[in-house]
């Protein structure tokens, strides 16, 4: 009896293993670093790769690919205005525990076909799942409206993106996705994940980081403002005074 159980366990592990090892991702990025310089105006990241397998393409549902790129997360407060004594005032507030500053999902087909709800919950892939919201205060019953509002506001600003045709897949083997990073980008590690799915379930995944950093003058000014705030403040004032004086001098010279 015991031997039988061990056998079953062994067989199950084998199946799990083979399911994982059957298809693996080999990935390439057009850039693993994004440099924010003074004239930074957004950037396009091309994520391409191939599916490595030892065996022929499995039968059944076609291979689909989901790519996510996620910027640094921070807690945010979502406030709602209400009319009180005739004027619009912020009354209710819900704190969202963790919301990425940027989040893009690109898929090879409609999200609901490519990914089942349970797998979405498990891997936190779609935009609403990527936001972690803790309990709202007791007096707010419709806390979902607040996270919806967050997604709506950030989607309008192009900070949250869902592109259901953003990944092209060839022969179930080669895939390629483009993600457009907006000009208003916050620096940090951008976590990039690639999922292969069949019939809605994830069969393989791969993760890598894209390094987004300020460079040159931007880097120097930012560091100075944090590490040597007094000097930075004095420098700002000096520039202001010099510019004021300079304009005045130039104009009086011109009038003469």
């Amino acid at each position: 009896m015991i031997r039988f159980r061990v056998l079953i366990a062994a067989v199950l592990t084998c199946i799990a293993f083979s399911a994982l090892a059957e298809e693996a991702i080999v990935l390439g990025l057009n850039q693993s670093e994004v440099s924010i310089s003074t004239n930074f105006n957004g950037s396009e990241i091309i994520i391409f790769g191939a599916v490595k397998r030892e065996e022929p393409i499995p039968e059944g549902p076609e291979l689909e690919v989901v790519v996510t790129v996620s910027g640094p997360s921070a807690p945010v407060t979502v406030r709602r205005k209400e009319k009180t004594f005739g004027i619009w005032v912020n009354t209710a507030a819900v704190e969202v525990d963790r919301a990425p500053s940027f989040y893009a999902v690109a898929t090879s087909g409609p999200l609901q076909d490519v990914l089942s709800r349970t797998e979405d919950l498990r891997y936190k892939i779609s935009v609403p799942r990527a936001i972690r919201s803790v309990g709202a205060p007791m007096d707010i019953k419709d806390s979902a409206a607040f996270s919806d509002a967050l997604i709506r506001i950030r989607s309008d600003a192009n900070q949250y993106q869902l592109d259901e045709a953003g990944v092209s897949v060839d022969e179930q083997t080669l895939f390629r996705a483009t993600v457009q990073l907006p000009a208003s980008l916050i620096e940090g590690d951008y976590n990039t994940r690639i999922f292969l799915t069949r019939g809605g379930s994830v069969v393989a995944q791969y993760g890598t980081l894209i390094d987004v950093r300020k460079v040159g003058l931007e880097r120097w000014l930012y560091n100075l403002s944090r590490e040597n705030a007094l000097l930075y403040g004095l420098m700002s004032l000096a520039i202001a005074i010099a510019a004021g004086w300079g304009a005045s001098a130039i104009f009086s010279a011109l009038r003469r």
């Binding site: 924010i36 003074t38 004239n39 930074f40 105006n41 957004g42 921070a74 807690p75 945010v76 407060t77 979502v78 406030r79 709602r80 205005k81 009319k83 005739g86 004027i87 619009w88 005032v89 912020n90 704190e95 409206a145 607040f146 509002a149 967050l150 709506r152 506001i153 950030r154 000009a183 208003s184 980008l185 916050i186 620096e187 300020k214 003058l217 931007e218 880097r219 000014l221 930012y222 403002s225 944090r226 705030a229 007094l230 930075y232 403040g233 004095l234 420098m235 700002s236 004032l237 520039i239 202001a240 005074i241 510019a243 004021g244 004086w245 300079g246 304009a247 005045s248 104009f251 009086s252």
Partner: protein, 302 residues
């Protein structure tokens, strides 16, 4: 031409900022207002985070006010003595104002109070100025002389001082109080306070309009510089790239503004400033009264 702002962490159009700075600079030179009550809401509007807008606005005000002040100094329309007395009061008021501001912040709702402050003060000042300057204009048209200033309780106060440029011999208490009050409001509202200072000097202290502008600018520079340093060292919200773009426009605008200001009559100048103040007031009042398109707003956890 897009440019990335290192502190605000977003990309904006450089020419938009130059233009914005220029418009505010013209007003600054014309009316002796720092323009903070204009530049701060305008920066909000183009998507600059409020904390960065307030702090950087203060830095820009230093530049455009300094540019305009130099013109006034050359023209000898600055009462340095009166300016110093106002400034002494102003710094005390500003320090008190910052304390009150932080207390309100701890209660939440500081945005609402700042907005209400704006609407109330802009409304009162704009309204009073408009009525007064229209009256003055009507009287000069019909040839009536304006009535001589009455001797009020202000003349009876002690510690009198002679202000030569202004041509006044009054007690230092009213200017100190005016300075402190303006400093207090300026700190709460995040502006230099010129739009309150100018009418206060004209109507409360009885100073001639020509001297008022230069003297107000003198006082604003110091208050704005103080605010800039405070923000730079505590909140790290002064964006130097944003400031440079705004102030290039600002200083050039200020030079044109001062020239334009000398071509207009004092009453006309006051009517224009009154109208400008009322327009901003109306806009802010509408924001409070009308239902906003987006009821929700996203802010970082304080």
């Amino acid at each position: 031409m897009q440019i990335y702002l290192p502190i605000a962490e977003l990309s904006v159009n450089a020419f938009l900022l130059l233009g914005l700075g220029g418009i505010v600079g013209v007003l600054s030179g014309m009316f002796g207002v720092g323009g903070g009550f204009l530049i701060t809401p305008l920066l909000f509007f183009i998507g600059i985070p409020p904390a960065v807008a307030v702090a950087t606005g203060a830095n820009q005000i230093v530049a455009s006010s300094f540019s305009a002040l130099l013109v006034h100094l050359k023209r000898k329309t600055v009462d340095l003595r009166m300016g110093s007395v106002l400034l002494a009061g102003g710094l005390v008021g500003a320090a008190a104002g910052v304390t009150i501001f932080n207390y309100l912040k701890s209660l939440g709702q500081v945005d609402l109070l700042v907005n209400l402050c704006y609407v109330v003060f802009l409304g009162i000042i704009g309204g009073l100025m408009l009525v007064e300057s229209l009256n003055a204009m009507y009287k000069t048209r019909t040839g009536k002389r304006p009535p001589r200033k009455k001797h009020t309780w202000i003349q009876k106060l002690p510690f009198k001082m002679r202000f030569r440029v202004t041509g006044l011999y009054i007690s230092v208490i009213p200017p100190l109080l005016v300075g402190a009050f303006v400093g207090l409001l300026a700190a709460i509202m995040g502006v230099g306070g010129g739009f309150i200072m100018v009418p206060a000097m004209i109507y409360l202290l009885g100073m001639p309009t020509k001297v008022v502008v230069g003297t107000s600018l003198f006082q604003i520079i110091f208050v704005a510089a103080f605010t800039t340093m405070l923000h730079a060292t505590t909140n790290y919200t002064v964006d130097i790239v944003l400031a440079v773009l705004l102030l290039i426009g600002g200083v050039i605008g200020a030079q044109f503004g001062t020239t334009l200001g000398t071509k207009l009559k004092a009453e006309q100048l006051r009517i224009l400033l009154a109208l400008l103040v009322l327009i901003v007031c109306g806009k802010l009042a509408l924001d409070l009264l009308l239902q906003p398109a987006e009821l929700y707003s996203v802010g970082f956890k304080s």
